[in-house]
């Protein structure tokens, strides 16, 4: 029994890692109808920047605080300069642009940091393991669960209880109407985009001690994040949260109960969810 509880906890930790990424992507997609394929690139950039910052300052916590600001600034610039002129165009043009940015980021990372597989150690204090369910469990993963839950709570409060949150939700529901009410929807877009890429950077820092840092981590993670966002429903925080947990647990238990299907479990889950609820678990109208 404790074996299954242990695995459930593993799935939860993986799910929270996914949530950090999915939250940003879902907001961007839900609000701006833009599939930001560079999201994985910002995630990877976050991990590499953390690597350099930790080497430079010696502190993981400084990196955790500073890196999201850096990637948010990067996202802000990207949206302002490159993406904005393309809103009048089709989806395809926007996707091509973000896809191109993703390739640029990948090569940039390879050029600046090399092609080696690198590693970011967990900060002292969190690099221990505790006895849980009869075996040693890394404290760092417990930290990831706590951080994910805290972020989820914070986002829920901001989105649900503040004026800013109301503005964003209104924009997701009906951007033309929101604009008609006198709100500068362009600025809201830019800020949400920057916030999304900031979250991606944060996810990069937090995941680096678990995942490792190497070129290619961007696309690997992007694919799983897209699945989570689709399963949870676009533009909803609740969807990102529960979608991440579902995928995290499905992946973990799929690996041990159905190892031959390990590679396709999460795609099967996605297909099933979409068949039953085409908008995702909590998605509203389908676009």
């Amino acid at each position: 029994m404790s074996y299954y509880l242990l695995q459930a906890l593993n799935g939860c930790a993986y799910g929270m890692l996914l949530f950090l990424l999915a939250a940003g992507l879902s907001l961007i997609f839900g609000l701006m109808d833009v599939v930001n394929l560079a999201h994985g690139g910002f995630y990877m950039l976050g991990a590499y920047l953390a690597l350099s910052l930790v080497r430079w300052t010696g502190s993981f916590w400084i990196a955790l605080a500073v890196v999201p600001l850096l990637t948010a600034a990067g996202g802000f610039l990207l949206e302002w300069e490159l993406l904005r002129p393309l809103y009048r165009r089709t989806h395809l043009d926007q996707i091509l642009l973000t896809f191109g940015v993703a390739f640029v980021l990948m090569d940039l990372a390879r050029w600046l940091w090399g092609a080696d597989v690198q590693s970011l150690p967990a900060p002292p204090g969190l690099d221990r393991s505790v006895l849980l369910f009869g075996t040693l469990f890394p404290v760092y993963r417990l930290f990831v669960i706590a951080l994910g839950a805290a972020l989820g709570l914070a986002l829920w409060i901001v989105l649900g209880r503040t004026r800013l949150g109301a503005t964003v939700r209104a924009g997701v529901a009906n951007k033309e109407m929101t604009q008609a009410l006198g709100i500068d929807i362009g600025m809201v877009f830019t800020c949400v985009f920057a916030f999304g890429t900031g979250l991606a950077g944060l996810a990069g820092v937090v995941a680096a001690p678990v995942q490792g840092v190497f070129p290619g981590v961007d696309f690997e993670t992007l694919i799983v994040t897209l699945i989570v966002v689709v399963v949870g429903g676009l533009g909803t925080l609740k969807g990102s949260f529960w979608g991440s947990l579902l995928i995290g647990e499905a992946d973990t238990f799929g690996k041990i109960l159905l190892p031959q299907l390990a590679l396709v479990i999460i795609y099967l889950v996605m297909a099933t969810v979409l068949l039953l609820r085409p908008g995702g678990l909590f998605g509203g109208k389908t676009r």
Partner: protein, 411 residues
Amino acid sequence: MATTRRGKEGTRDGRVTRRQLIRMAAAGGAAAAGARLAGAFPVPAVLGAAPVKIGLLVSYSKVYGQLGEDITNGMTLYFDSVKWQAGGRRLTWIREDEEIDPQVGVRKARKLIEADRVDLLTGIVSTATAYAIRDMVHNSRTILIVSNAGGDQLTRARKSPFIFRVSFSSWQVSYPFGKWFYENVARAAVLTAANYAFGTESIGDFKQSFVPAGGKVLGEVYPPLNNTDYAPYIAQVEKLKPEGTYNFYSGSDAVRFIQQAAQYGLTKKTQITGAGFMVEQDVLPAEGPSALGIYSPLHWALTLQTPENLAFTRAYRERFKRDASVFAMQGFDAARVIVEALTRTNGDTSNKDRLIEAIAGVKFQSPRGPFEFDPATHNVIQTIYVRQVRQVGKTIANVVFENLGRVRDPG
């Protein structure tokens, strides 16, 4: 990753459209970049005869990008030492990126063989790519000197007189270790590997000597390739309570597996062993103290105390400011094989049979020990060492402490 695509459009009303202009500029840019890459290495003055064209096809992108660079560096180091000449001719190369995708590998190999008309092809990081180009290489009578891809069948069922391998076969690395494991580590083991050809083949090779020696396999676990979270699998291994495990992972998979195994306490509860690639120089620095104590078989180690290896590792470090790896050593030896063969044929690359005979006869003291080819399979015959990851002064390194003797792939 840039590849130029040739579209079929002509001009519209005789004018060049903007789209074409962009395409031409892109093609021009790509060609310039390609020419720069090809001519990036210093080449000595013309010696009269046409230069030997060597096609180098390795992976420069994604997770195995470092392997491609290491192989290239190893070759550069050797070619520099002979001033890029052999058999009275200048040596030049054209480098292409196989990208880990066999389809891309086939395309690039075809380009090197048919369009660039290389005299020799070398490299190949990925076994899948090696199998994919095998027929093309054989049918076009192109000599291929493999400096990595370790798939057993490449020098067995799918061997070819034109294909030589200077690196290893997965059998050579894992088979001798099975018996050693039974005698020195544990009588029963759990086996895990990344679920792809290299991984499953290695586990099979290990079992071939472990089981007949009396070993008992408690269980086998195969995480998918590029798996992020090993926690569920580590928990499965722990449940079986083995005294020892034999594992196969490489690249980022190896880093994640070792780190997570340490975090979950697996490294303390059981003796972890694995094919040398799991703790090689490309991943050991990232694994750090988590890897301490791990036993691994391989045909080389950074700390191997042969005079050739000491010279090689020192020169490599001085030139490239980083430690050599087994891949760099393989590239170094591939370059040496090419140079020695060309010396024997006096630079003649047109008579393929003569060149094949020359290559097959090459024997020398490599950094890894005595090097020779098996005339029946064209695979290298070499010594396999057992190493353990230990703290050596300020660094963590694979220390050789046992020699499993000369190993020849059965073919």
